[in-house]
Symmetry: C2
Subunit: 691 residues, 2 copies
């Protein structure tokens, strides 16, 4: 039982969608000659980078082993999802979700990372109807149920007899959960809670698996007892009858309809009309309602804080995965595709030879690497700080909280835009579902709004930055990633504190560039803090002043996150021992840093960090680096080690047989099931016969 | 017959997808109170702006009349497309396309603009299977067929007996059409052309309507006669049998499979194996092949040039339309949606009151207006220059060609990103198909790659800019939008020509900002031209030098286009007579110009156009303008005058009844057709019964 609990806890990691398995075979018979040449001439061994991304040679080996168990399992095979209706896609996903449990037991997979890898490979990186059962329902039971409640609910949940979801958001309420309207009123005469959705805006909306799959929901509702509102609490509400799966009395439940993506998931609505549940269906580990209705307050809720931080940290890793996937497709296709003329009279060159194509893709490739290392750092930091917290030390939690919020927003915004850039870099064919790119986009873009809307996240980070700045200004030393603010506190009253700093940045030296990003962040945090102060002095109240500065605050957070990413990328290089790998990763780090400067030149000029001639040099250097990365690009994406099934892209195939596969794929299009579409007989033939 | 020809010519305008109809009624019974208040407190009459966008009061009236004919026609009604399969969507669209012809005749609509408005309203701004028949097949007949050929093909095409498409792109060949591989070999013994797709890469790919709808295609192929290749020519190829619609011998034709969007369109493939067509199926108005195989060269092909320019100019208008649609949805929803706390203890504010939300939406709103005016200018310029061309004056064509290429790329990139920004500004609900935003995005984003891939377009503009720069440098005066280069020619040998210029920009004066944009463009064109020169001096050949400078060249084009947009927005204000309208449009123009500076501060600092303190003022001023636009925002989107059917968005409804409608919409989701999904019986019940 205990191992099952651990197994389940590990499933917290499974919310969201991940994709990265694969084994690379460098020799194939039908390899596209361009790709073959690209691979033969690369200056480093991509396997070494794969190991670096996995953590070790052994971890790469084991990951591939676990992934192969799923990818080679004929029971988990299915038709191309692009050709199925939403209802069919839901069905495929549900079938695989049900099989997943059985397969994990069969293969004896119990390590959290391995479960995660296996699940990713079963669902090919796509969301599925049981995500919230595994990722929220069960973990919430584990963290908030009493031992008695665990006895009643855990085993049935683990065996999929109870399938649950987590019903928090309402149609009228998202990020600001205090305003939720659903009520749970305690009736001491029957010792029951009566649940209601009192308004249209209070209808529960969005929870995954709620529409068709779940028979239980953990419902967040305003608790009323003894005539008083006691705020939000969690209740286990049976919503469908066991055995028939029909909605229970008072329950109106269903699917919220088609979305941009997430076709496999039955995101649902739930409207409750005097739904009665027993008193002990309130999750009572912390707060309680006694039989007579007496309310017992919870002690504290710092651990909830931790779960959010964990999920956001994981999303940073997702940004890396999804952007890497898109880069793999776009770079490989750009090596296979020949188009136009570079030199008059010569054959059409690979489009990867165009500087503009390189300029689209290589900074994104560098970004994908940067985000991988940031993801690793966030995971390690989370584990370290969780260890501290278990020992009672909460000191680093505020920074981790701020960091995870900001980096979640920073990386998801950039990866989202980057995926689309990759798609468009594939020209018309990127728009075909066969490219895999539209799917990557629609699967990933929700990360910008879920688990904390990105702008709200940036403002949370800003709150921490401004607080740290004011601490530093008042002489307290601040620690961690914001320690640079210590250097700025003394100068805050001078008119141009930063601009007065002598320019010492060497644009070819990564540590010097880290310093430049630090100075930029410092200036923007300082500027935002001062603007906030100025707003306050105009006798605005605190909240209005904050709102009127929020554009500056978001910019400050963005610059801070950018600095953190450059710093972590740079720091990672010290771990790399292989000379060739060190060299190419240093080039990518330099590309990441310099490209970021060239896209934000004003900030660096205004901060007095760089001079105008230096900016010109930066732009020139970026172009030179494109040429350095060019011959290594295919090997750099190979190193991400995505298996073809997982990329699910005719453009990104490892063997480069793009056009043949695209033609075969198209022939399977549902519209080609008949030679003549039925609408011809309905609308065209009658019209033509009239003539 | 002649009027029919005119009617058809006007259909050239119909490629792409447009949406803007609607009548605004300012009084409704069930109006959301927030929206009502927003409308009551706006300082200007939105109807006046609607008239400005349409061109006159009369044109607004007539547009609404034409649109109403389509929108209120019960024969054109159908179920929500979001709930239909692709095959069903294709069928709905085909039915409406067939009806369209009949309805145009019924209503006596023959003015090109009105046909365009009517078609937009019939298809609710969506693409449809006959787009290429109307937009390319018929117009190509008209421009390239001989009188005899017109006699044979035009009337059947106009009556939809012949349905045609335009088959140019191949699976391995897009923008660079000279490399197309399809062959048409003349056989004098039978006086036929033999068409072949000799390789996989030569399969025709993408043409709309090719997959299932068309029975003819105009095929672009390399002409071989008397043993020689004569380059690309157009051939009318029957592909499906009249009466049965079955593919003819040697023809393999079908749908290319699902795409990101365009579900209604059967983009298709065509593989030809020794397909024989009579000699007089080659379009012979210009080039000819005589019965014995003798090839007669065409005189010139400047008119093709004109068609491309026209379509690209129209796409600029599309950018405005689609971005306006997205802004309408996001702004209205932001006025209805209440979330979080601005002031502690007070009710949740409208999300439009958050500065960060304003900062996302109002610059886009300003951009939408800017693009409308640019679209109007492009259309007028096209008509004017076409008039000149008809009089034999080609002098302005090169600039128009460069302008339309660059502005097509500039506006589609920005509108594409802007639509997604609007979607994400609607939070989770933006991700629902009910928001209408995913659909707007996937329908619009192909404009970035079709009709000339955007980067290629930017480089075409750059070629014109560099040429103009070098003309100006050698003392020739250049005219039109690039005339600013005349001022720079004299200084090109100085080390810091532009930075030396005294700063005179007044950031609150629009004409001064136009000057600032001009200086920035001049500097970037100059820098790109000099970098190109430097590359050439490193003894690179001309083509390599161009490629190695292409990143700079794209930047220069971007800055030039940005200048043109600011200039045209500013110029438009002089036409506005109403004081209140003039005031709000001036605010938007200022927002557009200042926001563009704040996003590109480095360029303005490097050009010495603005000082660092001025940049700080610009950022501050942008925030102030947000507050000025805030109370006018809803009226500003109302002025775009989109009818609800056309927005097809529960979030963007004119009456603001967002949540009720969303709930009703969701209930219609296909997954809700049964209470219990069949997969429950297949996968969950057996599993649960085992326990």
């Amino acid at each position: 039982m205990l191992s099952e609990v651990n197994l389940v806890i590990s499933f917290v990691a499974l919310v969201g969608s991940y994709c990265c398995p694969s084994t690379c075979f460098y020799i194939r018979n039908t390899m596209n000659p361009d790709l073959q040449r690209e691979r033969e001439t690369a200056c480093f061994n991509p396997e070494l980078i794969t190991n670096l991304l996995d953590g070790s040679t052994e971890r790469t080996r084991r990951r591939r082993e676990v992934e192969a168990l799923a990818l080679n399992d004929p029971e988990l095979a299915h038709e191309d999802l692009n050709f199925l209706s939403r209802s069919e896609r839901y069905e495929v996903a549900l079938r695989k979700s049900a099989l997943l449990f059985q397969k994990l037991k069969e293969h004896g997979i119990s390590d959290p990372d391995e479960i995660y890898q296996f699940k990713r490979s079963v669902h090919l990186g796509r969301p599925e109807p049981l995500d919230l059962h595994l990722g929220m329902f069960v973990p919430t039971l584990l963290s908030q149920a009493t031992p008695d409640q665990l006895d009643r609910f855990f085993t049935p949940a683990w065996n999929l007899q109870f399938i649950g979801t987590y019903a928090q958001t309402e149609i009228g309420h998202g990020t600001h959960i205090r305003a939720l309207e659903t009520t749970a009123t305690y009736d001491p005469s029957t010792q029951e809670f009566v649940l209601n959705s009192p308004t249209v805006t209070s209808i529960k909306w969005w929870p995954g698996g709620l529409g068709k799959t779940s028979n239980h929901a953990i419902v967040l509702a305003q608790l009323y007892t003894q005539g008083q509102c006691r705020g939000l609490h969690a209740f286990i509400v049976p919503i469908r009858e066991l055995g028939t799966h029909k909605p229970l009395p008072g329950i109106e439940v269903g699917d919220i309809g088609p979305k941009f993506g997430y076709d496999e998931v039955d995101n649902g609505f739930l409207k409750m009309d005097n739904v009665r549940i027993p008193r002990d269906n309130m999750l009572m580990k912390f707060a309680q309602v006694e039989p007579d209705g007496t309310y017992v307050k919870p002690p504290s809720d710092k651990l909830t804080y931790g779960t959010m931080v964990f999920i956001r940290s994981m999303i940073v890793g997702d940004s890396a995965q999804m952007l890497s996937k898109a880069c793999t497709i776009a770079v490989r296709y750009s090596a296979v595709r020949h188009q136009s003329e570079l030199r008059i009279g010569e054959p059409e060159p690979q489009i990867l030879d165009y500087q503009t194509q390189q300029y689209k893709l290589f900074p994104l490739l560098a970004t994908a690497y940067a985000f991988h290392f940031v993801g690793q750092y966030m995971k390690q930091t989370y584990l370290r700080i969780t260890g501290d917290i278990n020992l009672g030390d909460f000191s680093e939690l505020p920074e981790l909280h701020a960091q995870s919020a900001g980096l979640k927003a920073f990386t998801t915004w950039i990866a989202t835009a980057g995926i689309e850039e990759c798609r468009m870099a594939c020209g018309g064919h990127g728009y075909s579902r066969s490219s895999g790119l539209p799917d990557i986009y629609v699967t990933f873009t929700p990360t910008c709004t879920y688990e904390g809307e990105n702008t709200v996240m940036m403002l949370q980070t800003a709150r921490f930055l401004v607080k740290s700045y004011s601490q530093a200004s008042s002489g307290q030393r601040v620690a961690g990633m914001v320690s640079y603010l210590n250097d700025y506190s003394s100068r805050q009253i001078q008119p141009h504190p930063v601009a007065a700093r002598p320019t010492v940045v060497d644009i070819n030296d990564l540590s010097s560039l880290v310093e430049a990003y630090k100075l930029r962040a410092a200036r923007l945090v300082e500027a935002a803090a001062k603007n906030l102060q100025a707003e306050l002095q105009r006798r605005k109240n605190k909240d209005d002043a904050w709102n009127n500065t929020s554009v500056d605050l978001v910019r400050a957070s963005d610059a801070h996150c950018h600095y953190v990413v450059v710093k972590l990328f740079s720091a990672k290089l010290s771990e790399v021992t292989d000379t060739a790998v060190h060299s190419i990763l240093s080039t990518l780090a330099l590309m990441y840093a310099l490209h970021g400067i060239s896209k934000n030149t004003g900030d660096f000029l205004q901060a007095g960090v760089l001079t105008e001639p230096q900016i010109t040099q930066v732009n020139q250097r970026v172009k030179e680096l494109l040429a350095v990365i060019r011959p290594e690009a295919v090997a750099l994406v190979d190193a991400f080690d995505f298996k073809d099934q997982n990329l699910n892209s005719v453009l990104g195939r490892y063997d480069g047989n793009v056009y043949e596969t695209m033609f075969e794929w198209a022939k399977k299009s549902p519209l080609n099931k008949t030679q003549v579409h039925e609408s011809y007989y309905k609308y065209l033939k009658p019209l033509q016969s009239k003539l």
